[in-house]
Amino acid sequence: MPGTDYASSEHHEFLDATTEALANANLQLALANLGDTLGQRNKDAFAALPDADALRERARAIKDATLAELDRHLETLEASVQRLGGQVHFAGDGGDACRIIEEILRSGGARRVVKSKSMTTEEIHLNRALEAAGVEVVETDFGEFIIQVAKQRPSHLVAPALHLRTPEVAQLLSNHAKRSLPADAEQLAAYARETLREKFATADVGITGANFAVAESGTIVLISNEGNARLTVTMPRVHIAIMGIEKVIPKLADLPVFLKVLARAATGQTLSVYTSLVTGPRREGEHDGPEEFHLVLLDNGRSRILAGPLRESLFCIRCGACLNACPVYRNIGGHAYGGVYAGPIGAVLTPLYDGLAENKHLPHASSLCGACQTACPVKIAIPELLVKLRGALHDSPAGDSRIERLAYQVWARAMRSPRLYRLGTWLATRTIGRWTRKTRWLKRLPSGLHGWTAARDFPAPAAERFRDWWAREGKR
């Protein structure tokens, strides 16, 4: 729709958003180097890691085996966290999770919450719920802070403000600061540090996601480069972690397998700057860290996906590598996808979480080139999952197209009859094939098929059938 702000709206027409993204000069500049920077660093990091492929297979195997007995691992995790003095909450959907967190805040009389970046809280729209309940919510990851000030949605799994350029950010933060800030990354980051340090020092509660949770020890793993996740679990009196149920891993010994591949896939680092293993609230005699720890386990459609044919999508460790590798993402950015998760994995997850019919274009927003699967640290077969979704779409009423049905009926009929096939190919070469002998491309297809030629040409049939060529040349 004209006038839609795709950076803030979550549900919109994919094709319109794509057209807008391709025409957005700032966005195109912001995306221009993604493949040469993050994309290339991923490749270099894996090339330098001995036995990288075996490690990725191992990470995959752990995820697979864990999901097969997920209920048991969740119970172990629950028992471990309780043993440490933490509380575990079960949230069937996003609404449940928001209510649980609101209740924890209300019972502690919390007025201000600091958050470190968490896609899971984006998924359940936690900020909106808490603000409605009268709580001040402060995003502390630099990119998330910018996004929050801009009232937009993150456009990348690990670099949420990737779509913005420095002058735009300077403008946004100047409005926030009520003074003029220069378009300089250092000084803008310094402003964020100063503003957010004050918030950390005065917040009642810190909310984080979890990159992993170790069942046997009750350990929540938080990974960040900035250190805001550490501050979130150091300064406030209460720590609430929320995680999708698929984030659990059984053993502490499983963790290094994932740590070895996660940062390499995301940014090419051997490890992110801070990898924190949080095991319960602060202990007797310690001077910092939360006195109270809550873990919220979120289903929100995950058990449905677990039972279905796309279980593999739950292997995802949210590194963003598939986004950086994807030629589609690198052209349209994250907002066009709608939903919470962008890029190739978003094209799988958003239809699964929010409905296939509402997101019918997403499974097709891929050339199936396979770059995403190659970049994925747990080797998720994203192209295969997209094809499965396309299949499901075809079988659903949303995927029903009269012209497509007709075309396949004609095709099927011709393919079953050698005589009809011969006639069809003869007709095609004698007509369109000969007319386009010079250009070999069709610039415009008739109404109903013109969607193809709106943005690219269609290959014309050959001027001569193979069987005719063979009949002539094969005798020589």
């Binding site: 912001a30 920077t37 890691l49 036995d51 490690l55 297979e57 191992r58 697979d64 999901l67 097969a68 007995e69 997920l70 209920d71 119970e75 079960f90 069937g92 630099f142 670099a159 403000a161 990737l162 950010v169 990354a185 250092e186 340090r197 020890s217 480069n225 900035e226 250190g227 805001n228 550490r230 501050l231 679990v233 150091t234 149920i245 502490l252 963790l255 290094p256 070895k260 680092q269 051997t270 490890l271 700057v273 801070y274 990898t275 293993l277 949080v278 095991t279 602060r282 202990r283 005699g285 310690e286 001077h287 910092d288 386990l297 289903d299 058990s303 449905r304 039972a307 044919p309 279980r311």
Partner: protein
């Protein structure tokens, strides 16, 4: 939805979906295995620098004093948060700070302050000094565990963090760290264990690297022979 319904739903789903084609090769680790200690130390040094840290190889206490003096002068440090740790005692860090005129705060001194003063002092500190519980050669990481006298804040709040590492703390590979943690027993895990690999960083503005966005802007690792 209550706990029982929640888990029952997951149980049914886990049992009904299918497992995937995975080919586990449990012995292929890609583990770094240095020939000797010197090689591991050299790798550690290289990786600390790769991660954006400054590395100092020191032979005895006097060299550490010189390093402290120059850092304190360069960064105009007046106050410090310091761990209470045997390695820091061994190298005489507390006396050096006194000599260099830095006001420092450890757990014991902090307890002498009222809560608000203590918090203000921590937030205002210019320098954080920690030892390490482990260091990882393969990744250039310093591993810090929270305890009564090992505050999380020391490596986090100040703009400058100095980690004093001894050769015996270095393990070759990330896998070795986790093997050691398992050996110690899961019940020995501290409330917070952090692998630090570089100064605080962000690439959130046009993927351009900026340090010190939340934590230390400068990260110094001193490898001191005892």
């Amino acid at each position: 939805m209550n706990r029982e319904q929640f888990l029952a739903q997951v149980r049914t789903a886990a049992a009904s979906g299918r497992m995937y084609r995975v080919h586990p090769r449990p012995h292929a680790h890609g583990q770094y295995d240095p020939a000797n200690e010197a090689e591991a130390q050299a790798r550690f040094q290289r990786e600390v620098i790769n991660a954006g840290g400054a590395f100092h190889q020191l032979n005895e206490g006097l060299a550490l004093r010189d390093l402290l003096a120059s850092l304190i002068e360069l960064h105009a440090c007046r106050t410090a948060i310091v761990w209470r740790h045997p390695a820091l005692e061994r190298h005489g860090v507390y006396e050096m700070l006194d000599e260099l005129g830095v006001t420092w705060l450890d757990a014991e001194r902090a307890e002498g302050l009222v809560r608000t003063e203590r918090r203000a002092a921590w937030l205002a500190a210019d320098l954080g000094i920690t030892a390490a519980d482990f260091a990882i050669a393969e990744t250039g990481s310093v591993v810090v565990q929270s305890r009564r006298s090992q505050e999380r804040m020391a490596s986090l709040l100040p703009k400058l963090h100095l980690a004093v590492v001894e050769p015996a703390m270095i393990v070759p590979d990330l896998f070795d760290l986790f093997a050691r943690l398992e050996q110690n027993g899961l019940d020995q895990l501290p409330s917070n264990l952090t692998l630090i690999t570089g100064p605080s960083k962000t690439g959130d503005l046009e993927l351009r690297l900026v340090t010190g966005v939340h934590g230390p802007r400068a990260w110094h690792v001193a490898l001191v022979r005892s």
